[in-house]
């Protein structure tokens, strides 16, 4: 039987699967499954009760506590610093890879592309332990001053974010019209001017989207950071991890809510810019 209520008056076609109740049920159940845990988590960060289950009224106390929790704020500052530096470096490196792969034919290119994709596909745990072993082996000092003591985490983050950035910028470059470049050359531009004045401006939406992706990937990373951070260089996810191990508390809920809002916003802006960029071509 056709379900009409939700979609207006016309009868259901044979492939309007969303109007068939078994499919609608699975779909609704999936969305409930995906969202209820996160939404309750966010809602209960405003709950005026330590027990965290019974709703006892609205409060923003836990956000206040969050901002007074020095350890957590330091960890948050570390996370932002790491994300900022890894974003800048992965943008530069990612853009270079994108230009290289988009522009040039060279021997063993498929192998090069495959190797470049390795940081995206290998299990995070393997990369984490490799970084741990690497920094231990080269004798990376542990007693540097802030923010230089974050450098090893930043290096590890750049290694796994810049291949992602390269993929995004390359997709943007695929829409580039080479005639623009020829026009620039006809008008007297040299190699560098072509890049500075034509190609890089064209890459801009890709750079912004790639930058936001790199920032959120770095901000969100737990596993690789877990293996590279020391007692003095705790990041926000690592700190939350140690809090989660103890118990479920409204502070953790509040901290999680802040991070959810930041990453969802950044990713949404990134996707929006990317769509805007590709729609224009």
């Amino acid at each position: 039987m056709a379900r009409r209520s939700l979609f207006g008056k016309d009868p259901a076609g044979p492939l309007d699967y969303l109007r068939k109740w078994p499919l609608l049920t699975v779909m609704a159940a999936t969305f409930i499954f995906l969202y209820v845990p996160l939404l309750t988590l966010m809602a209960y960060s405003f709950n005026d009760s330590r027990r965290n289950i019974v709703w006892r009224g609205f409060t923003t106390d836990y956000y206040g506590k969050l901002f007074n929790n020095t350890d957590l704020m330091i960890a948050f500052g570390n996370s932002l610093t790491i994300a900022l530096f890894s974003t800048i470096f992965s943008l530069v490196l990612g853009a270079m890879v994108a230009i290289l792969l988009w522009r040039f034919k060279f021997p063993l290119k498929p192998l090069y592309e495959g190797t470049m994709a390795l940081p995206i596909v290998i299990p995070e745990i393997c990369m984490g332990v490799a970084m741990l072993a690497f920094f231990a082996r080269i004798g990376w000092p542990n007693d540097l001053i802030w923010p230089i003591n974050l450098a090893n985490i930043i290096i590890a983050h750049i290694s796994f974010t810049f291949p992602f950035v390269a993929v995004i910028i390359r997709a943007r470059l695929a829409g580039f019209n080479r005639e623009q470049e020829e026009a620039a050359r006809d008008l007297g531009a040299g190699d560098w001017e072509v890049y500075r004045d034509v190609i890089i401006p064209h890459m801009k939406p890709g750079l912004v989207a790639g930058g936001l992706l790199a920032f959120t990937l770095s901000l969100d990373d737990f596993v690789i950071t877990f293996f590279t951070s020391g007692p003095e260089t705790v990041t926000f996810p690592v700190k939350v991890y140690s809090m989660v191990r103890f118990s479920v508390t409204p502070e953790v809920n509040a901290a999680s809510t802040v991070l959810i809002v930041i990453t969802v916003l950044l990713t949404a802006i990134g996707l929006w810019l990317q769509n805007k960029g590709t729609a224009k071509k």
């Binding site: 699967y17 969303l18 779909m27 209820v36 996160l38 522009r103 745990i125 737990f222 996810p237 990453t263």
Partner: protein, 309 residues
């Protein structure tokens, strides 16, 4: 595309820095643990590279094999559930009215953008003994008892429900890990399935339905064979990260739901046996590469799965 030797200067200036970075800060660390995996532990920090394969042989002792088998089982179970949930969801999105399509896809993607740790933590809050599920059950339990008492049949309620409410142990077992893996990896399955189904010619489905096949038969005999490359791609893309999961078994699992990543972490942090941990890491990577190669072969045989390019 230009040939590299025609623009050597540009080629080198964009090629050298990222290549250097990849080699120095990715390939060298990987090579280092590859070498470690053939080493022997001497003392607390010392590692002697003796090119022994003992570490790999140790991975095949029954205790470790059991953990490998457990990891495979948990990852496969989660992948299968993702497939059975993801296929109807993807089908629903593909044939949804176009104004809904983007919104529904976004709805699947959105939780994916939130931190893995936070999503896992959200599940803990739902499942724990004093979590929302048990709290809801307890509420119903209390209401039913009151209802029975009202009719003077309190004895029946006690006989049915026991003396008092027993919280379900939903957390810290294998089921919690499977649920967590499904929760985290569902988008990995839905997106490739969506890409594959989206390119399916509707008229095949309509023909099948017109000729009298039911929806399930159409699904099994028409949709699944046509979308097979996408389905296989979805299975592999879901399976790989599920197999290498560290946080999910660590936070949701019990003492015996350790996965490969858990024991790798243990070798590097508490047990301090880096050569063995390195060997385990490489075994995990070899399984990953095997799965990726399988996907590449399948994609070649069945045409592109719509994820490249």
């Amino acid at each position: 595309m230009d040939s590299w030797y025609k623009f050597k200067r540009v080629f080198l200036s964009v090629g050298v820095p990222p290549t250097f970075w990849l080699v120095a800060f990715f390939l060298v660390p990987l090579a280092l643990i590859w070498v470690f995996s053939f080493g022997e532990k001497t003392g607390v920090v010392g590692i002697d590279i003796t090119w022994t394969i003992d570490n790999y042989i140790r991975a095949f002792n029954p205790d470790i094999l059991k953990i490998f088998a457990k990891s495979l089982w948990l990852a496969i179970a989660a992948t299968v559930i993702c497939l059975f949930v993801g296929l109807p969801v993807a089908l629903g999105i593909v044939y949804a009215p176009s104004k809904w399509k983007g919104l529904l896809l976004l709805g699947i993607m959105l939780p994916f953008w939130t931190n893995l740790l936070i999503r896992t933590y959200a599940l803990i809050a739902v499942l724990r003994t004093r979590g929302y599920v048990n709290f809801t059950l307890e509420w119903f339990d209390a209401k039913i008892r009151v209802l029975f008492d009202l009719f003077g049949m309190g004895g029946i309620a006690t006989a049915l429900l026991g003396e008092r409410f027993q919280a379900l142990e939903l957390l810290y077992n294998d089921n919690a890990v499977i649920l967590g893996l499904v929760y985290v990896h569902l988008p990995f399955m839905v997106l490739p399935l969506y890409a594959a189904l989206e390119r399916l010619d509707r008229s095949y489905l309509e023909a099948s339905l017109d000729l009298g096949a039911g929806h399930l038969r159409t699904l099994w005999n028409v949709v699944v064979p046509l979308a097979l490359p996408g389905i296989i791609s979805g299975i592999i893309i879901t399976f790989i990260p599920a197999l290498g999961s560290f946080l999910t078994p660590d936070l949701l699992g019990g003492p015996d739901s350790a996965m490969i990543a858990t024991i790798i972490e243990r070798q590097f942090k508490s047990a301090n046996d880096w050569p063995f941990g390195s060997a385990l890491s490489f075994l995990l990577m070899y399984i990953t590469f095997g799965a990726l190669a399988l996907r590449a072969v399948m994609a070649k045989r069945g045409g592109s799965d719509g994820l490249e390019g």
